[in-house]
């Protein structure tokens, strides 16, 4: 190899190193710009909402009758829906999570259908199912049951329909993850299915169940599309917080709409934080395999 050739290859190498370093810087800059753009797009509306009006206007707007009524309706309907969801959904999820039967995957898919269904479609579907002229409308009236449409019961049904699939899906996964050994042992120790569910499966799946319930609760609090179709928007009976936002907005009362918006945002943020914390506890508590260390079997006295 001649000296000229070797020096020539060195300059080539330097040039290549320069271009690759430049390339890396360019990629980093583009990545930073993209992250900044996405974050700005997601965060700007939230910042705008929170800073739109001064604190005293915000507090004043929380006190209007539309807002207080909506808070009351939202709390009551969501609480009832939540209790029903836990009571019926937990045993349902346990059975689906712990047993294998023909058609199980069909049931699992059907459970998830409301998750992907547009809320307005859910509302119209509930209307043609339970409304006065719907599939079960006649049956309800012959049984002497008042039709739920435009009543508070309809709000609860909407929340249940759109929100509980979130709980069911998470709860089924949480029960599936419970180690068979614990349930087998519980059986040999004389525990029937109810005791196995309440004393073993639910505690072992509790973090997963809690995270799923939190997500479902958040979805229920925000429910709008199905409710406005099936339950209407009547202040004090069916007007939940999201409906009140729309009511204030269409009544040209932007300040009041924003105030309720801030309130809902705070609730959502609290739920998100709770579910994240629960999920973290879940992942750390599911590692139940015994440590394989050789500590003395003679316990300290």
């Amino acid at each position: 190899m001649t000296p000229a050739a070797s020096s020539g290859s060195r300059t080539d190498g330097d040039a290549r190193a320069w271009t690759s370093a430049l390339g890396r810087v360019a990629v980093a800059v583009i990545a930073a710009i993209m992250i900044a753009a996405v974050m700005a797009f997601l965060m700007l509306p939230i910042i705008a909402l929170v800073t739109y009006e001064p604190l005293h206007t915000l507090i004043h707007n929380f006190g209007t009758s539309v807002a207080t009524d909506a808070i009351r309706v939202s709390l009551k309907t969501n609480a009832i829906a939540f209790v029903l969801m836990i009571l019926f959904g937990t045993p349902f999820a346990y059975v689906l999570g712990r047993s294998r039967f023909r058609g199980r995957s069909v049931v699992l898919t059907l459970v998830e259908l409301p998750l992907v269904m547009p809320p307005a479609v859910a509302g119209i579907a509930l209307l043609v199912a339970f409304g006065p002229l719907g599939l079960l409308g006649g049956t309800l009236s012959t049984l002497g049951i008042a039709n739920p449409v435009f009543r508070q019961a309809a709000v609860v049904m909407c929340i249940l329909f759109v929100a509980s699939p979130f709980y069911l899906r998470g709860a089924i996964a949480a029960f599936e993850a419970v180690d068979d050994t614990f349930l087998d042992v519980a059986g040999t120790l004389g525990a029937g299915w109810l005791r196995r569910l309440l004393r073993v499966a639910v505690p072992l799946a509790s973090s997963g169940l809690g995270a799923a319930a939190a997500v479902a609760f958040a979805r229920g609090i925000g429910e709008f599309g199905a409710t406005i179709l099936f339950a209407g928007s009547f202040q004090g009976t069916t007007q939940t917080l999201p409906l009140a936002v729309y009511f204030d907005f269409s009544g040209d009362n932007i300040d009041a709409a924003v105030a309720i918006g801030v309130l809902l945002l705070a609730v959502s943020a609290a739920i998100l934080l709770t579910s994240k914390l629960l999920a973290r506890i879940w992942t750390s508590s599911t590692s139940t395999s015994p440590s394989r260390d050789g500590r003395s079997i003679y316990a300290p006295s």
Binding site: D179, T181, F182, D184, V185, A186, G187, T188, L189, G190, A191, G192, R199, V200, P203, L204, S285, T288, S289, P290, S291, R292, D293, G294, R295, S296, I297, Y298, A299, S301
Partner: protein, 309 residues
């Protein structure tokens, strides 16, 4: 006590007895109680069988304390059981905080709180290291002899069975190959697999009948005299302590030393074809180094001819 290699069906058998798996055929009963009968369609669920079942790793409930685990079985506190197993001071500890031996005691206390009619133990030492294993095994042997409770224990390790069992059943590929006392299995293994499990050397050869027994030409060279009559291709089993060292030219067959290891009162000389065990007090005689050619001698009465498969 059931012994067998992994995949032999030991755990499945235990789970079937526990009522956790449904067999396609057969009958399970304890005393006068019928637990399962495929023909009659009888099946008692696990929670009604009154068994003390210890799965591998013991299956202690991680969300309950030691006292809570024991209470789960009997629906009331059992400080007496905790004291009996020396875990009273651990009553409020969680299973995660316990050592392997402590876990086993909690699992035993919990199983006994159920007031079982039979104890089922699945690989009780599977999760333990060698030192803990020996301690826990001796402890379990004491506990079991004090309980006077019928116990079915499965393990893959024959030495566990020897310490713990009165009768050993050997499972292979889902079949019960042999059942007997530990010494019966060592002296009269039914198959090469049983012999191998007891730690015996298994050799192949061609037997020719003789007036008193047979002469066996070994695969790989050498000849052995056996007091058992036999002919044709055979497998033979000889325990390591029945083999004797000889000069390379003198033995019944020749072998090469691979390693020499001292182990609790004995010396194990691992060779290419067999393992020889000599007592330590005889080890004053110079031992052959690794790589040395040796001869191997054995008394005809120790050359067990195994039943052909």
């Amino acid at each position: 006590m059931l012994v067998g290699p992994s995949g032999a069906g030991k755990t499945s058998l235990l789970r079937t007895v526990a009522g956790l798996e449904r067999p396609s055929a057969g009958r399970i009963s304890l005393g006068d109680e019928l637990w399962f009968d495929a023909q009659r369609g009888t099946r008692l669920s696990a929670e009604r069988r009154r068994i003390g079942y210890l799965p591998q790793d013991y299956g202690l409930f991680p969300h309950l304390t030691v006292a809570g685990n024991v209470r789960f079985a009997g629906k009331r506190d059992r400080p007496d059981l905790l004291e009996r197993f020396g875990i009273g001071h651990l009553a409020r500890a969680r299973p995660k905080q316990l050592s392997g031996g402590e876990r086993q005691r909690v699992a035993l206390a919990r199983a006994l709180a159920r007031d079982p009619r039979v104890l089922l133990l699945d690989e009780p030492f599977g999760a333990l290291d060698a030192i803990t294993r020996r301690q826990v095994r001796d402890e379990l042997a004491d506990t079991l002899s004090g309980l006077a409770l019928p116990t079915l224990l499965v393990t893959h390790a024959f030495e566990d069975a020897v310490v713990l069992a009165q009768r050993i059943g050997v499972l292979d590929l889902g079949e019960l190959v042999q059942i007997g006392r530990p010494d019966e299995l060592i002296d009269r293994p039914a198959t090469a697999m049983v012999a191998d499990l007891t730690g015996a050397n298994v050799l192949r050869g061609e037997a020719t009948p003789r007036p008193t027994g047979s002469l066996i030409a070994l695969e790989g060279g050498g000849e052995l005299v056996s007091s058992t009559p036999a002919s044709g291709p055979v497998q033979i089993a000889i325990q390591p302590w029945e083999l004797e060292l000889a000069d390379p030219a003198e033995g019944a067959f020749a072998d090469l030393v691979v390693s020499v290891r001292r182990d609790r009162g004995a010396v194990a000389i691992r060779c290419a074809r067999v393992t020889i065990q000599v007592p330590s007090d005889k080890a004053g005689v110079p031992l052959p180094p690794a790589g040395a050619p040796i001869g191997v001698r054995v008394s005809p009465s120790h050359v067990r001819v195994l039943a052909p498969r």
